[in-house]
Point group: C2
Amino acid sequence: MRAEVLKGHLDALLLATLEDGPRHGCAIKEALCEATGGKLDLPTGTIYPALHRLERAGLISGTWSVVAGRRRRTYKLTVPGHEALAGARQSWQEFADTISSALRSTPWPATN
Amino acid sequence: MRAEVLKGHLDALLLATLEDGPRHGCAIKEALCEATGGKLDLPTGTIYPALHRLERAGLISGTWSVVAGRRRRTYKLTVPGHEALAGARQSWQEFADTISSALRSTPWPATN
DNA sequence: CTCCATACATAGCATTTCTACCTATAGGAA
DNA sequence: TTCCTATAGGTAGAAATGCTATGTATGGAG
C-alpha cells in the first residue's frame, strides 16, 4: 500500500486498537498487522511517534512497566480518546463515502 | 474535512473528473465541488500544482486555448492516465476496505 | 559468545496539501 | 474613468505526517 495514503487516518486506527483494552506499542503494531491480513504492517518509526503525538494530545495515556526484563509502555484510551475515536470513525465514514462516490461519479457535473 | 486526510487520493479524483472528457482547471475544481455536495471544495493552490504533477507524470496532457479573452489550459487523460485511474480506483477500494474493516475490528487479535 | 527477537526511540527526509499571495482579462457599477 | 467582481491560472513557503535508517537495551537460542 502506498505510503502517503494513510495520512490523517493513522490516529483513528491506533485509537481503535486500544478500544478493547490497554496495549503496548509492539502489540498495537501487531494487532493492526494481523487484523488487516498484513496489509497494514507499519514500521515502528511510524507507530511510536504517532503514539507520542496521541499522548501529548491527551487521547491516550501511557504507563511504564517491566515484563521479562523488557520495559514496556502500555497505553490506554482516555475519556477524550474515546470521544475522539467516535468522531474519527464518523469522519472516516464521511470521507470514504465522499471519495467513493466521487470516484464512481459519471457523468460529472457540466461546468462550462 | 480535515486537510491531510486527502493526501494520496487527490490524483485519483482529478483523473476521474477527466474521464468524461477534457476540462480546464477551474472546471475540474467545480466539478469536484458539485459532485461531492461541497465537501471537496479544494483551493486552487491544491488543484493547479496537482495538475502540473499529473502532467509531468504523463497521466494527463494539457493544451492552451483562449476563450473570451481568458487563456485556458484544457487537460485530457492520456492512455497511461486511463490505466492509472483504473489502478487508483482499485487501490482506493482496497485501502478503504482495509481501514473500514480495521475501524470495525472488535475484538482485536490478542498479541501478547 | 554470537545472533536474533523483542521493545522503544529519534533524526532527517520526502511528499503533499494548504494559506496567502500574485498576474491578467472582461464586464458591470459607481 | 475608476473600481470591483468573477474567471482563470500560477507560485512561494508553511505545516503535517508517515517513512527510512539507525540506535539503545534485554533475554534467550544456538
